[in-house]
Symmetry: C2
Subunit: 283 residues, 2 copies
Amino acid sequence: MTTSLELVSANKCFGGWLKRYRHPSAVLNCDMVFAVYLPPQADQGKPLPALYWLSGLTCTDENVMQKSGIQRLAAELGMVVVAPDTSPRGDKVPDDADGAYDFGLGAGFYVNATQQPWARHYRMYDYVVDELPALIEAHFPVSDQRSISGHSMGGHGALVCALKNPGRYQSVSAFAPISSPLHCPWGHKALGNYLGPDRQAWKDWDACELIARAEERLPLLVDQGEDDNFLVEQLKPELLEAAANQHNHPLTLRRQPGYDHSYYFIASFLPEHMQHHAAALGC
Amino acid sequence: MTTSLELVSANKCFGGWLKRYRHPSAVLNCDMVFAVYLPPQADQGKPLPALYWLSGLTCTDENVMQKSGIQRLAAELGMVVVAPDTSPRGDKVPDDADGAYDFGLGAGFYVNATQQPWARHYRMYDYVVDELPALIEAHFPVSDQRSISGHSMGGHGALVCALKNPGRYQSVSAFAPISSPLHCPWGHKALGNYLGPDRQAWKDWDACELIARAEERLPLLVDQGEDDNFLVEQLKPELLEAAANQHNHPLTLRRQPGYDHSYYFIASFLPEHMQHHAAALGC
């Protein structure tokens, strides 16, 4: 890898370092910023496993690092955490015509767009699954042991990335994921624009559809707050549950009474997700 | 207490509830918002001790709750956490003429102003020490066991509140406090405006001066990042150290290599501060 990384910021945290880098993305045709947390164990020479965290609508790489407490857990476990942005960025990158929060900038949905004007930049799936890990593994003391998690749109992204790539991730989990973009307004808008009106093409980006074709029985760990404002209209964990039941796919879906869609919910259950990933990664 | 509390928001977090309330403040002559984290133990009927957290310049009640991980620790220890805002607020409240970040709104410095136009609203000391605890203790299952901590301007505030009120706080700690507003530009600007040009009056609001007159030897726990941008010009922990040495006041001052002024630094060492407070509060 000869891609240049420009250090944007560095903060010492729980004995390790949270660093943000800017780099030109060949896949997305723009400059991107990502965050990587290197725990204290990264100084000891042994490559460490990495967890990729995919954030939700409107987020950047910063939300999980500022609000979830993930660095403390990663420092305890000896795990690197990588947080990409949620869409391509920059003046050249087209956005929702009305600047809406649920499409365009901050809302890449972790798919590869096929429709113009989106297809030139909106290829977050290839970025997250291939380009970014290659960059991370070339520049940091990171092994090829990877896990993936995320929240809301990023929970959908994590499930899709894992289900589409048997063997590539040792474990996967999600917080309040968009369980089936085929069956919710956020998904209809995003996939309709990025992929066009043919709903057959959408099925490649829907966790429930991908469970039906999964070659690997990678266990899914999902937490969902019962007081989440988006639960009924957008997230629909019952669809994930039905698909898992129908296709005998291992799913642990935990409905958490009183919890909402915020990072306060994520922070509360992240310790158990990190234990889940650590066990799979051999931390 | 008949003061009305208007619930602004509620988020379940680590089994407890983070709640934000708006209320009219008689001391500050404006409406104020504060945050209170009620750990799961708050449902068990026994009054719990409370930690008051004072934030730094530009902050509100939200920063510590979003970025420090304090709810996790409070839930483990059975401690209520109260976070006031950092100044009076509202259209009626005068601000720095240039809208600077280091004076006026978001920069109350936890003093009682004596000069106009500030004196009518800027009485954050009375608010934090008296009005807010009375409100908290009337409305929530909270005992009269209190501790206080804070960051930067709020570290100064925590030290001053504790040193001026022997017996009122069971413990005190600070992250990167403004050790001596008499000896730094932030302090000169704030105290010069709030208290007027007579520096003798400033001494009532300077931790180093208060150590010299302290009637109680309450141990001070202070963490300071060595890579803090404000260390040399504004924070000056060496002045606190000298005052403690000269007056035989117990001070644990820990200089942390590589750490900066951010909440990443606070999050990293907050667990030890919470243990310090829990021991004093009998948690």
